[in-house]
């Protein structure tokens, strides 16, 4: 038993106490153990409804939330809204009204505009979980990353993680680096100058090349996805150039092996861009573990949040 204040929504990492982070990460471990049973389901959220509201395409995150909710015995409704539709303030409030009428207990929301999950959270009694909003936050990704690192490094304090790629546009980089920093893990970044934010997150060490990365001796290398849809020709000269400068290739894999460093990626990967086929088979890749831990962490989050729709 603990004296944590119940929380209705999960919108970002910044507002979480260390105690809450520990609570979710520790509870995620027994949830993961359920996956070893032939019956992977528990009845905890029987009769509750989870609404997956995705304004941006996402197969992995939305299905991960769906599996998590199913394994908690909640009923899941998937609500995908065309990414091309421009969402005006008024239509968002209309949507919220519709959601209220559906009496969902949990709303998982992804939106291209930062702050939308927060607005929805203010106007509904349901627990709102941010599944990614613009360049702002992706808190469940950060939690699953932290869980994955803690599994391979039970003594994780003082470990070093370097994030490689488009840090500027990455809500993953923002949430994950913030969480790792809160846990006492050192974070560095490597990426094209145009894609490394100035002034944000002073705690991150700025590295300029892979040589500097390997000299820094990271315990894990976290590759970000190159967001092809909004990148090429704008922030770096070409995909081939990006691959040459920042991609995980054979030579860099040799250095990874020497260090015994783990490899992480939030998925989906662009083979041949941020990572080669060979690197995908690296024995210390944690990419599939991240997917599995994503379900466990999302179950722990559903278990933790307390909607106002609960009867007391």
């Amino acid at each position: 038993m603990s004296e944590l204040n119940p929380r209705k929504d999960l919108l970002d990492i910044e507002s979480l106490d260390l105690e809450e982070i520990e609570y979710v990460l520790e509870n995620a471990v027994p949830f993961k153990q359920l996956f070893q049973r032939s019956v992977k389901k528990v009845p905890t959220l029987r009769g509750k409804t989870v609404l997956n509201l995705f304004y941006e395409p996402s197969t992995r995150t939305s299905s991960s939330f769906e599996v998590a909710a199913n394994r908690m015995s909640a009923d899941v409704t998937n609500f995908t809204i065309s990414s091309s539709s421009v969402v005006k303030g008024e239509s968002l409030l209309d949507t919220i009204e519709t959601l209220q009428a559906m009496r969902s207990d949990y709303i998982v929301i992804r939106h291209q505009a930062a702050g939308v999950p927060g607005i929805v959270a203010k106007h509904t009694g349901a627990s709102v979980i941010n599944a990614g909003d613009g360049y702002h936050a992706h808190p469940t990704q950060a939690l699953l990353d932290a869980m994955t690192i803690r599994e391979v490094y039970p003594e994780y304090k003082g470990r070093k993680v370097v994030i490689v790629g488009d840090v500027l546009h990455s809500r993953v980089a923002r949430s994950t680096s913030t969480l790792l920093n809160k846990l006492g893990i050192e974070v560095a970044v490597l990426g094209p100058g145009s894609l490394i934010p100035e002034g944000r997150h002073e705690f991150m060490t700025r590295l300029r090349s892979w040589d500097e990365v390997f000299d820094w001796k990271p315990d894990a290398v976290y590759l970000l996805r190159v967001q092809m849809e909004r990148q090429e020709g704008q922030f770096f000269p070409s995909i081939a150039e990006y691959h040459k400068m920042y991609g995980m290739n054979s030579q860099r894999l040799v250095r990874m092996r020497e260090l015994g460093a783990y490899l992480m990626h939030p998925g989906p990967v662009n083979r041949g861009v941020e990572i080669t086929d060979e690197a995908m088979r690296y024995e210390r890749s944690l990419i599939s573990t991240q997917v599995e831990n994503g379900i466990a962490v999302r179950m722990a989050v559903l278990h933790w949040l307390k909607p106002e729709t609960d009867k007391d």
Binding site: M1, P30, F31, R37, V42, T44, L45, H303, D310
Partner: protein, 191 residues
């Protein structure tokens, strides 16, 4: 777990009394389960300690039964009322096949019976035991569902709003079984 604010009213079993009750349970189990394929499952936290103690007594008599653990938090029927007591989950560990096994569930106290109901659901998600029985150190009455223990260390009469607390030195500072007054403004936790 802190007992701050509790008023300890009465010790109903001393550490020696607990050991005697455990010896009685062990003798009963050895007699009735002779020749069967038996496994113990302890319900977190103190059901696990109780199962281990009974298993230790039996082991000293040459009967070795494996002990598994079960956290029933995810199977409770009062999840909506969690309020300030956010449950910290423990790792359930059932390191043996349940099929065709005679399983004895251990909990330190039986009260309403709701915890055992949850444990039955939880246990059956791990397999299909040949038979399931229930062993408790204390039966304090006031059942709300039709579940009865098969092995009992001691049966006591209580008022419904009292707490019965079993304390083991493995988990707590002071060992014993106590009847504790209800703290104001709290409802008894169903056990």
């Amino acid at each position: 777990m802190s007992d701050t604010g509790d008023i300890i009213r009465e010790e109903i079993l001393s550490p020696e009394g607990i050991q005697e009750a455990i010896a009685v349970m062990a003798r009963d189990i050895a007699y009735r389960c002779a020749g069967d394929n038996v496994a113990f499952i302890g319900i977190y936290t103190r059901g696990v300690t109780l199962a281990r103690r009974v298993a230790a007594v039996l082991k000293s008599q040459g009967l070795e039964y494996p002990v598994g653990t079960l956290d029933i938090s995810l199977y409770r029927d009062d999840f909506d009322n969690r309020g300030m007591d956010l449950p910290r989950l423990e790792s359930s560990d059932v390191p043996f096949a349940l099929d065709d096994t005679r399983v004895i569930i251990f909990d330190e106290v039986i009260f309403t019976g709701r915890t055992v109901r949850a444990a039955l659901d939880g246990l059956m998600d791990y397999g299909r035991p040949a038979k399931i029985e229930l062993a408790v150190l204390i039966d304090r009455g006031h059942r709300e569902i039709p579940i009865q223990p098969d092995y009992v260390g001691k049966k006591i009469g209580t008022n419904r709003d009292q707490y019965v607390k079993v304390r083991f030195h493995e988990d707590d500072e002071r060992e014993g079984v106590f009847i504790v007054e209800k703290r104001s403004g709290q409802t008894p936790h169903p056990a």
